[in-house]
Chain length 239, copies 2
């Protein structure tokens, strides 16, 4: 019975109380001093229990103020294509997508991107957008686009999301290859997405092809994990 460490049983007790609504989202938990008395343990044990909650994303501590239950802001994205955020998809769910252009310029892409895009010339267009869902910062979108497309559609790409621009201009996208994985916030992303260093992030990485062999853009969308939920429905033919 006593094989479970004290800090674990305390944090699980607190987790259950949060789940059952004893402590509402945004509400302040008891102070460390109060918990020491309530559970009859030392401060280091209380702090370990709180650290568990913070690591599990259930609470956030603020020096000088207290520990607060994480407000739930998770958003479900229902996407028509994997890894491609379309305003129309999100609007269906009542989510308003806004974005801010951080960067749009001609650059020399990293070697792996040049290989994927099959670039003979050394440069491509690079764009970085900061995406917000219902006004709350949620993701950074980084895209490399073939130089001829970037040059031609630059003004439109600055005003709208990438895929709608291509579709409106009848650039056929034959297929999209995509991967999804989990990483941790480095210093740059921690600044963009307003999360502490090391927080988990979701990376969508995608390549769009205009015909079976012709990749036209390569990009990644890096989302806050706490505001991320990706939904998909797939019909299966009977075996």
């Amino acid at each position: 019975m006593a094989s479970v460490p004290l800090h674990i049983s305390i944090s699980e007790k607190l987790r259950d109380q949060i789940a059952s609504g004893v402590y509402a989202p945004g509400e302040k938990l008891p102070s460390e001093h109060q918990m020491m008395a309530a559970f009859g343990v030392s401060r280091i044990t209380v702090r370990q229990a709180i650290a568990n909650l913070v690591n599990q994303g259930l609470a956030q501590s603020k020096q000088g103020k207290g520990v607060f239950v994480t407000p739930q802001t998770k958003v479900a994205y229902s996407l028509s294509s994997p890894l491609v955020l379309l305003e129309s998809d999100l609007a269906q769910k009542g989510i308003k997508l806004t974005f801010e252009n951080i960067s749009f310029k001609k650059v020399r892409p990293p070697e792996n991107v040049r290989a994927i895009l099959g670039l003979t010339e050394p440069s491509a267009y690079f764009q970085k957008k900061l995406l917000s869902m219902n006004g709350s910062v949620g993701a950074v979108d980084i895209t490399y686009i073939l130089p001829e497309l970037g040059q031609q559609f630059g003004p439109q790409l600055k005003r709208k999301m990438t895929f709608p621009v291509l579709e409106e201009n009848a650039i056929a996208i034959e297929r999209i290859e995509a991967t999804i994985e989990c990483t941790h916030a480095d210093y740059e992303m921690s600044g963009h997405l307003e999360v502490p260093l090391g927080q988990p992030l979701i990376v969508y990485r995608y390549t769009a092809y205009s015909n079976p062999d012709k990749p036209i853009l390569q990009g990644e969308t890096i989302s806050r994990a706490d505001r991320f939920c990706y939904a998909l429905t797939v019909k299966r033919s009977a075996p």
Copy 2:
């Protein structure tokens, strides 16, 4: 200058050494005692610095052995259906999927699962499998199955993965609704997946329907984030 906490500057020094190859992936870091001497700080500071590395996914500690640089073992899953691990999909990539039955029993499912499955009776079959890719523990699969299916196919479900059993028995799966999101390891999952408490995990949550209105199973696959990479190719019709 001294405004940065000691444990931060120590963990950043270690991070740089890991990045520059002083400590190779899988290699053991110096012991806490050695670090105390090397940096001239107390054990609690060394442990805090190591905790930072672990939270950033750069290192893993093992009681009795030491702290090791995280080996890069990321595996790309290319799946024919979202959130459903099929041996055939993985075999295509040269990944051998094995599993161990942790639990198979009749239980009273939680309220949300009963609502999804439309259960009038109070019970359903519950199975929990521990999945390994190429011998390395990667995911826990938890599934609730309609009682009539669980009873009928129990012996097969203990020996094989769920979807192959259903398909071989001509249980038509009309469609699968799935979501993917990021959570953190609680005590139970931390034990199953051999990761520290609070490490990011990926949750696939899926519902399979035998006809448009008839859900037959509900489950989730909880993957280690450091061994997770989900790949999908989608063909798009021209606009």
